[in-house]
Amino acid sequence: MVGSPVLFVAIPLLAAFLIPLMGMIWKEFVRIIPGLVLAYMLVLSVSLIIYIQSHGTIVEVISGWGPPVGINLVFSPFSGALTTLMTFLGLLVWLYSHKFKRNVDYEPAKKYFILLMLMVTGSVGMVLTGDLFNMFVFIEIVSISGYGLTSFFVRRDSAEAAFKFLLMGAFASSFLLIGIMIIYTQLGTLNMAEIAQRMPQMDYHMKVFSLIFILVAIGVEAETFPLNGWAPDVYTQAPGPISAAMSGIVVKAAVYANIRIIYTMYDLQGAYEYLLIIGLITFIVAETAALKQERLKRMLAYSSIGQMGLAMIAFGIGTKEGVYAALFLMFSHAIIKSLLFFSGSYLVYNKTSKYIKHVNGMGKYLPITAFLFTLGAFAIIGLPPFMGFWSKLALLSAAADSNLVILVAVILVVSIVEAVYYLRVVNRIFFFKKRANTKPEKPTINAMIAMLSLAAIVLVIGFYPDLVTGLIERAADDLMDKGRYIGEILSKN
């Protein structure tokens, strides 16, 4: 074994707190260290993925306390695939923002990179942990760094967005604590595998009660329908790369938590239907709301909520094909939406209001950025031969296999709405005249590399989906096999 899953939490946490000290020695360390750490994490998670293919899931016991008592980290095909995705996106976010605020000030950049490292730590920790209370702690790490990063720009209305996020996040954390407390009083354990094993003993009403508290709490981070009021504001006001990190890393971690709790921990009838219905409402409401948005990043935010709704629908189908489609959707959405946020931020760079009309005519001045945005838009609508096509196809065929024909129809109709608002922006980029008061801003070379590598993934996987389908299929198998998850963890005792 090349390394242990503990390093995914320990190293970025250590780096986050070493950054200010190293910055005193040489200011460039502040920008270099996060990149080195994230690159190391990416290499580590890829090599661990290869390792677990032949040796099986790694269950890491922390400080010698066996699983039902102590905290354990689980690197299974499912959590490993998500960890790889998150560290990869984290690396690209770092690359994109490497020169961030370079000419302005040293102090903001320092805080930015510290908080970014904490956000990645929290998200990866949420995915890897096997302990419910530990998950709560990681969710709080993610949220608090998220509040800080949202309020980053002093001149915008960012404090307002951050306060809104904080209000919902604080309620969510209280609810999550109540939910965890109910489980603890009923079962006397916090280990997720042991909770899953002993869940049938729990009183039915307590089960429903605790599940509602936990789902409401995690639903805030996972952008499910009535609880996603923070998302559009946060995505509009936060720095561009942070919007990408939020939709690509944080929300994926929260959806993972949601799914792990419903699929593995609880054995409730009707939980899948809940996912299906709430996902459908999220999808329809978000996509129609995106249609009437006037600001680019707000539109992208609603589209991101809608895509998470799609993933929830796919999880709610409940069959193996559904889970496969959901994981594929999460993967492709993380890549494509990051590409859209990266390139979209440059298209409206010089305006704080970020209206869609500010992209008018940018195709002539920023041809590569505009082309990449268009690529991302086509991919997320689901046009062949891009990556988004295969994930949407997997979802539709999973729904058709389960005889949910109405669902297929609804998804296709709402996808037309999606196509309308994306193609409207593309139309403005290429066929409208540039407004006099907008000034094109050339992307930095790092940002260009980050965007081009995302676009390359979109294209390559569009032509050769087999490159990732094996990985995703193993992850889906891992999630569906609840008994193996419990056995693997509790046998470590």
């Binding site: 702690v137 949220s143 209305d157 404090a159 307002e160 809104k164 603890y184 916090l190």
Partner: protein, 123 residues
């Protein structure tokens, strides 16, 4: 003594629930940003008190193996809720600090603390 402990237990649970409800009321209905943050903080305290009360054993001792208490594991209060509450208090403190600093930022930006006057973003 027995009766006194019974009353105490009811009082602790009652005040925990009361604190949670007061906090919810304050956070949801008050217009001032400071009062909202206070409400959140009170609600957190209520939850912490509730968690401690749940781990309590009537007439139990501290969960420490010391001289004279070697065989009294069944009389010890549950230490896990205490550990959880310790973590939760630290997290609550962090959230309150971030919230108050955001309130300062909002006050500088809008010159008001009333939440219904701060609506540059669509709520």
């Amino acid at each position: 003594m027995e009766k006194y402990l019974d009353i105490l237990e009811i009082a602790i649970y009652g005040s925990a629930v009361a604190l949670i409800l007061i906090g919810l009321y304050g956070a949801l209905t008050k217009k001032s940003l400071i009062k909202i943050v206070l409400g959140l903080s009170i609600m957190d305290s209520g939850i912490h008190l509730m968690m401690i009360a749940l781990g309590y054993l009537k007439g139990g001792t501290a969960p420490i193996f010391s001289k004279g208490f070697e065989n009294s594991a069944d009389q010890m209060v549950d230490p896990i809720p205490q550990a959880l509450v310790l973590t939760a208090i630290v997290i609550g403190f962090g959230v309150t600090a971030v919230a108050l600093s955001l309130v300062i930022r909002l006050y500088r930006h809008h010159d008001t603390l009333r939440i219904d006057e701060i609506k540059n973003l669509k709520w």
